[in-house]
Symmetry: C2
Subunit: 334 residues, 2 copies
């Protein structure tokens, strides 16, 4: 394992310290316990707190700031944060309007966020993201996994919260965006967790993992390496089948957001090639793409691979996607 680290025990704190220093205009770092929050705490709005294992950057700390999250609680690489982190973050920044947790549906995260929610005296609710349509139940989940679609949920709910909307309204929008979004990923290589020191899984020179999770957990099947168009074809079919199962209706003038997300070690050149392929194939199936995002937004450390997410926009979701945002990883209109 070759990584830019010092002592294993210090990886998280040193990385968070770098993030906090590089984005000192946006965030503050608390170290006991670890959480990052907006430099200036927001008032009179529902407070949005997310978090999860590290190694998925720019998720979640990259989304702290105006129009998105109020705080993020990072665990060690691929390890859930502990309840005291969420509790401390919530107690530090809660408002009278309540706290909304946004949690990717992974068993460890769900358990620890639930414990924090129970201990928290402030009114709170939770949105669980489960956009990954690759598998139901998985190595670390009951039900579907929450993956890159979480970024879209955080963006839209973050926008709504800034308007002074209620906790119930924020939760409802989060659930809707999650329901409107389907994702599926494919791995070309494994990732390596620093503390493990070796690749998470073994994969052959001519193999890919279709439907991989963002920690390298198995997906639908091990397949032979194929051309990009063939891989995308499988992904698009999975997403559209999921939309059918969810009974999402597509009006003639529907609009969608297409997110091509890199897992960390895939060059942008390839991500844009995937975008080209996915956009072409979706359009052939009658899907209108009117918003796009391409880059490393929900990664799996140094995994080569990518995921495709498609979100059906309605007027409300579109408005909140387009609204101003100022975070380390997403910024427009500010």
């Amino acid at each position: 394992m070759k990584k830019f680290i010092n002592q294993l025990d210090d990886v998280l704190v040193e990385s968070l310290s770098g993030f906090a220093k590089a984005h000192a205009d946006l965030v503050s770092l608390s170290l006991a316990p670890h959480f990052l929050s907006r430099k200036e705490a927001a008032r009179n709005k529902v407070v949005l707190i997310s978090g999860g294992g590290s190694g998925h950057e720019t998720l979640h700390a990259g989304y702290i700031g105006y129009g998105m999250l109020d705080a993020a609680c990072p665990g060690h690489a691929f390890t859930s944060p502990t309840p005291d982190q969420m509790l401390a973050a919530a107690e530090a920044i809660a408002t009278d309007k309540g706290v909304l947790f946004i949690v990717k549906n992974y068993a460890g995260d769900v358990m620890n966020f639930e414990m924090a929610a129970e201990m928290l005296s402030v009114e709170n609710a939770t949105v669980y993201t489960s956009d990954d349509c690759a598998v139901i139940n998985s190595t670390y989940t009951e039900g579907r996994r929450g993956v890159a679609g979480t970024v879209i949920v955080e963006k839209c709910v973050g926008s709504l919260a800034e308007t002074g909307a209620s906790l119930a309204q924020c939760q409802a929008l989060g659930d809707k965006v999650n329901q409107h979004t389907s994702s599926i990923g494919v791995a070309l290589t494994s990732c390596t967790v620093p503390a493990a020191g070796r690749p998470t899984f073994v994969i052959g020179e001519d193999e890919i993992e279709m439907g991989v999770g963002i920690h390298g957990e198995p997906g639908r099947r091990r397949a032979r390496m194929q051309e990009a168009d063939a891989i995308v074809k499988d992904c698009v079919a999975a997403i559209l089948a999921d939309w059918q199962q969810k009974k999402l209706s597509l009006p003639d003038k529907h609009e969608t957001l297409l997110l091509i997300n890199g897992f960390g070690a895939t060059p942008l050149m390839e991500l844009y090639l995937l975008y080209h392929s996915a956009a072409k194939q979706l359009q052939q199936q009658g899907i209108r793409i009117t918003r796009s995002l391409v880059g490393n937004y929900t990664t799996a450390l140094d995994m080569a691979g990518a995921s495709i997410s498609l979100c059906l926009l309605d007027d409300e979701i579109k408005q909140h996607w387009d609204s101003p945002v100022h975070t380390a990883a997403l910024r427009w209109g500010c």
Copy 2:
């Protein structure tokens, strides 16, 4: 080699098509010959055109837009664009104020941009970037290489050009920013050019290449893998020695921009850890860091590694770094 591609011959066009489609609000793509330019051509300003081999994304196409480039000419992966591309781009968008080419100092790029400049009937000038202080002369260069500091040059000159400044003023600022910026990179792994199909160079499990170029060309030395702090120490020493050699004077209240640039396959977690280490060590040496950028801004396809760039800001450079920019890869104030 496992990559998200279809036919080798189609990689560039498919990737550019994806980029142009995903950023259709910002750029237009011309295919014969290949160049990307602003959706709406600017008027009454010096036109800025850059380019180079593909595989360094988000350089250069990611920097087309208000406050930065007017056009970018992409070659195949790690291959210079040909003069007809620069000539076509310049002829398509030139204004009376002239054309400024921004060229990384690599022999192929220099030759082809020079040929285009000679053929172009419009007044033009060229800024050559050479921020890499690792080596003088290299596999593909006479003199120093132009690397991630090019982003800072393009940002600042792009800002000045929007004010209606003259060709000579834009060229002078570009030369100054280049002179004020030193960079050095380190590779943990090789990259793989699609057309080659195998790693560009061989590197042992316990080795790193200190001072690597952005195509994997050799740097100062092959070293043993070390802790991040030790690697950064070497890089910081190289940069500060270069500043001394350049006779850059540091007033008490000086300010600097610290750029930690990923080469493509290094997780953000590690880039922020490097930022933490570099900022700490620079501060110990009396350097004041007041601007920061961390991410994949000048990559080397799927190479694991990173570079450190430090730019000495004066009032003029700072003003043009801070000014509004709206491109695919850098956006603020718009």
